[in-house]
């Protein structure tokens, strides 16, 4: 069923009785052309683009819980393409372009909202680093603006300009950045993929792989064996666990990242602001809650919950940046398990096991990548060649030394 003004009117007049499930709750078939493991945003987007761009429709997305129950529903909803390095920036800019047409592509309002993102700088060295980044963005065809202190003040006069420990000197703005409604992205991709014939199989956990020699030819699951010509993993923080079942050790650690939302308020923050003198980023949802976050807790974890020191650090940074938020209340905090790669950048590549493909290493930036991640992974699965914007995301780059280390902190995932 297409969503249209007419369908809304009709259902409004008939007591909302005519709606159908947004996607079928499919049972697994014995075999598919492609199985995507992981029913988060990346997995569902992959299935959608495989079906819509490559004409492969005999696909299952299998998910151990319900779709969107992992990081897709636990992030701070920020979209942006303000990366630095040539391995990353064209990919994220492609993602941004896909965001810009997403709702029409999916016939689903994911509330993609380009109200801008502003990264603040507090020193000359940081300004230079942001200039380098802003110029790199321009080279990749993205938009960027370097603002001085007064430029920032004009956008957000309520930031602490007068008494700050690390005075705001300016910011790098990307006006096309913003937010999207994270759950709606999941639901939109699921619904659109389903309409193209993709089976979305929930409560179906991978317990092993079916091999023929070196090759992977399917998965064992809690709902039985399912064969496939190709299996793609898009399981974020569970990557190491699932890959281990195929005998692979990954350049990856799983870490917990906390996120926070405040009580609903009348509009305070229009776009996304990130603090440059601490770990803090904030935006305001359309419902009115301030959505914010900070650094990962910094230790390996699969527990989907973090601890107070990071909560305090986030609040200290928030108060240092915006001292008017002191009386606002934190409503909910939660944790997601991040697939922290060893250089802080993702992997979209074939694996040493023929038939098994990997999409992982999103660190805590996976949400914004959702469309391009799906696009590039679909391209790889369909053609066995990397998409032009994702050629650097190789699994063997750690062996060859072609690292994509945006932060320059080296092989220490908790610092990326």
């Amino acid at each position: 069923m297409r969503y249209s003004f007419l369908s809304l009117l009709k259902n409004g007049l008939t007591g909302q009785a005519g709606w159908k499930p947004a996607w079928r709750d499919a049972a697994p078939k014995p075999a598919y052309d492609v199985i995507i493991v992981g029913g988060g945003g990346h997995g569902l987007a992959t299935a959608f683009y495989l079906a819509s761009e490559h004409g492969i429709r005999n696909i299952a997305v299998i998910e151990k819980g319900h779709i969107g129950s992992g990081n897709a529903g636990r992030n701070t909803t920020i979209i942006r393409s303000n990366y630095l390095l040539p391995g990353n920036e064209p990919f994220y800019e492609w993602s941004m372009k896909l965001w810009e047409g997403l709702e029409q592509a999916l016939n689903y309002n994911a509330m993609v909202s380009q109200r801008g993102i502003l990264n603040l700088y507090h020193s000359d060295a940081q300004r230079d680093a942001y200039a380098r980044r802003g110029n790199a963005m321009r080279l990749a065809g993205a938009d960027s603006e370097l603002l001085d202190r007064e430029g920032v003040r004009a956008m957000y006069p309520f930031l602490d300009f007068d008494n700050a420990r690390f005075p705001i000197q300016g910011g790098l703005a990307q006006r096309r950045g913003g937010t999207a409604r994270h759950d709606a992205v999941v639901w939109g991709y699921a619904r659109a993929a389903d309409q193209l014939g993709v089976d979305i199989v929930q409560n179906c956990e991978v317990t092993g792989f079916i091999s023929e020699g070196d090759a992977i030819v399917g998965v064992e699951t809690s709902r039985g064996a399912i064969r496939a010509k190709k299996v793609g993993l898009a399981v974020a923080g569970s990557s190491s666990r699932v890959a281990k079942q195929a005998g692979l050790r990954l350049p990856m650690e799983s870490h917990v990242l906390q996120a926070f939302v405040s009580e609903g308020l009348k509009p305070v923050v229009d776009g996304v602001i990130t603090f440059g003198a601490g770990h803090f980023y904030i935006s305001q949802s359309d419902k009115g809650g301030l959505v914010f976050g900070g650094d990962i807790d910094g230790y390996n974890s699969y527990a989907q919950r973090g601890n107070l020191p990071v909560v305090e650090d986030v609040a200290e940074s928030g108060m240092a940046l915006m001292p008017r938020i002191g009386r606002l209340r934190l409503l909910r905090m939660w944790g997601g398990i991040m697939d922290m790669s060893m250089d802080g950048s993702p992997i979209i590549d074939r694996t040493p096991r023929p038939g098994l493909y990997l999409n992982s290493g999103w660190c805590y930036g996976g949400f914004k990548a959702t469309p391009a991640s799906g696009w590039c992974f679909a391209h790889l699965l369909a053609t066995d060649a990397p998409h032009a914007t994702g050629t650097a995301f190789k699994l063997d780059r750690f062996r060859t030394g072609h690292l994509i280390d945006e932060k320059g902190v080296g092989a220490q995932p908790n610092l990326h």
Partner: protein, 87 residues
């Protein structure tokens, strides 16, 4: 999360710096396969869900590296010992 430092006693994890997997051994740099061995050492991780042996540096306390055994699913800490034994 409070880490039982063998010297200082239980301390909040925030006064430690985390390094990660403590089961790894720096390979022999003179070995013929050193390039591969160092790749594995520096980049590959078991990343287990469950018991994890990991390095924490007590930067805010005794400045010793501790080998901590912690469950990554519950954060429960089974124990901690000083690296290299006490001097």
């Amino acid at each position: 999360m409070r880490i039982p430092c063998p010297y200082c006693g239980a301390r909040d994890a925030s006064e430690f710096a985390y390094l990660g997997d403590a089961t790894l051994t720096r390979p022999d740099p003179a070995a013929p396969d050193a390039a591969d061995a160092f790749h594995d050492y520096v980049y590959l991780r078991d990343n287990p869900a469950g018991a994890h042996s990991e390095w924490w540096y007590h930067s805010g306390g005794c400045r010793r590296w501790l080998k901590v055994t912690r469950d990554t699913t519950s954060h429960a800490i089974a124990g901690a010992e000083l690296a290299g034994g006490a001097k």
